[in-house]
């Protein structure tokens, strides 16, 4: 079985990016970039399935500037066999990304696309579902447990009232929740080997896909969270404040 794992290069999730001083966007220059942690979970799951001999080939794909190579190298150091990089300097939305992935799926013919449920930068949570729709494939979103056999995937989905279990007909698109697994650390020898694994590079301009931007980012601002809170000395004081000052109980 062949698995395609799309991976996105994002600002490292430990870094708190700042809004540009003119509020026109988010300052990402000079920040450490890493693989989207949700995608890292997807790569890890694919590698575990390969270690169990259920999956035979893992192909990682990334879309964006040339630096996305680093992200693909990380995926290959974790265990992906080879990579495809679609180069573009445009800012691409999930809809465009899904259209590009659709072409790659048609070319590569995987049985499964395994990807993060959302990216930690734009938090859209849409690419996997759009891709499944465009391909006419089944979808299993927000998956926290996956049991794969040759013709079907049993997924445990995290939904509002608990966990839903579905059997998906393959081929399918599965989007992963962080709880699915704990990604491995790439070992130094594997990082070294990954530097020699092949990356096929395709220019987006050669792909004949319309990627017109639909959403224009007008401005951004910091979401304020801090409050002028007070520290109380006793539970009595707290209950009194909640009753008489805040009037919430």
């Amino acid at each position: 079985m062949k698995v395609l794992v799309p991976v996105k290069r994002v600002v490292d999730s430990n870094i708190k990016p700042l809004v540009k001083s003119d509020n026109s966007g988010v300052e990402t220059d000079g920040l450490k970039m890493s693989m989207n942690p949700f995608d890292e979970t997807a790569v890890e799951e694919a590698v575990r399935l390969k270690e169990q001999n259920i999956v035979s080939e893992i192909v990682a794909v990334s879309i964006g500037e040339a630096k996305c190579q680093d992200t693909l190298r990380t995926a290959m150091a974790m265990g992906a066999y080879r990579s495809i990089l679609i180069t573009s300097d445009e800012l691409l939305e999930p809809l465009s990304i899904a259209k590009i992935l659709q072409k790659i799926v048609e070319k590569e013919q995987p049985n499964l696309v395994l990807m993060g449920k959302q990216a930690s930068d734009d938090d859209t949570n849409a690419t996997g579902q759009i891709l499944a729709g465009l391909l006419g494939w089944s979808q299993g979103t927000f998956v926290s447990k996956l049991e794969l056999t040759s013709d079907k995937a049993r997924v445990h989905r995290e939904i509002d009232e608990g966990v839903q279990i579905l059997d998906l007909t393959l081929p399918a698109v599965i989007t992963t929740d962080l709880r699915l697994n704990e990604p491995r650390f790439a070992s130094l020898p594997n990082i070294m080997k990954a530097r020699k694994k092949p990356i096929e590079t395709i220019a987006l301009s050669d792909m004949d896909i319309k990627t017109t931007t639909r959403l224009e980012m007008l401005s951004v601002k910091e979401a304020s969270t801090s409050r002028e809170g007070i520290i109380l000395n006793s539970v009595e004081e707290l209950v009194e404040k909640l009753q008489n000052e805040a009037k919430v109980i």
Binding site: I159, V163, T169, R214, I231
Partner: protein
Amino acid sequence: MTALVLLSYEENQIRSTSRSTIAAAKKFGEVHALLVGHNLSELSQKAAKLEGVTKVLVADHEAYAHMLAQPVTDLILSIAETYDYILVSANAEGKDILPRVAGLLDVQPITDVVEVVNENTFVRPIYAGSILATVKSSDNKKLLSIRGTAFEPVSDEGGQASIEALSKVAHSEKALAQFVSVEVTKSDRPELESARVIISGGRGMQSGANFAMLEKIADILDAAIGASRAAVDAGYVGNDYQVGQTGKIVAPQLYIAVGISGAIQHLAGMKDSKIIVAINKDPDAPIFKVADYGIIGDLFEILPQLENRLANR
């Protein structure tokens, strides 16, 4: 302009998050509600009473029983043409379905909308809720998922919508996904998303058994119980308890965070609560920065005192 709202419900109750979505949809004009599922007669009556809804479309069929993405998408696509806006709640169900519909309509969906600026401009959080982005859509049709906490829900009575049954079952021949089961976490407590009071525990609770201390207080306050990702990851409680960027987004009147340090992804899920109380032994815990009232100390001493005090107030 007419907006279509996909209703979300649980056990014959329309979720409050759907009523919030209707509130957002009303800003665009007339609102039709779409009720999808199986054995919907009671729910259709309730839907018709929702404030601001003029028509309820009901698709009642076995194939829709579990709101699976593929059949529901096909259904929405079959009626999408007449709508300028299609809205869902930004919960697991809505997030599962909306983008699939959008892809097939060639529309870029706008997810987790927290503010409607005008007919084509919306505010949504990015970077785990730390930044708010204002985006303008150039798509003819707008597909939105709405954060329930950001809009005051419409009333569940007073509406007089007509009910129209959608006779054509618009799902493809072959179902791509089979429902197996659902493990519902049973609770007599209010739903997290609609509770007036939430008491949440974090890693500081040290065990799942210790959540009993929170339950006692929740009983007194008629509160829902939540948890931080750390507590869920540690296995203290199930994932349906999780409040945060990757869990549930809540905004109750009162949020009590117990033994929660306040990781940014948790804060993103509860920062809009009206009053936040933090109980933590670490005075430097970031949770105190977002709290209105804080108590520094050992939660195992403070919780029994709090329970006692609340019971005897």
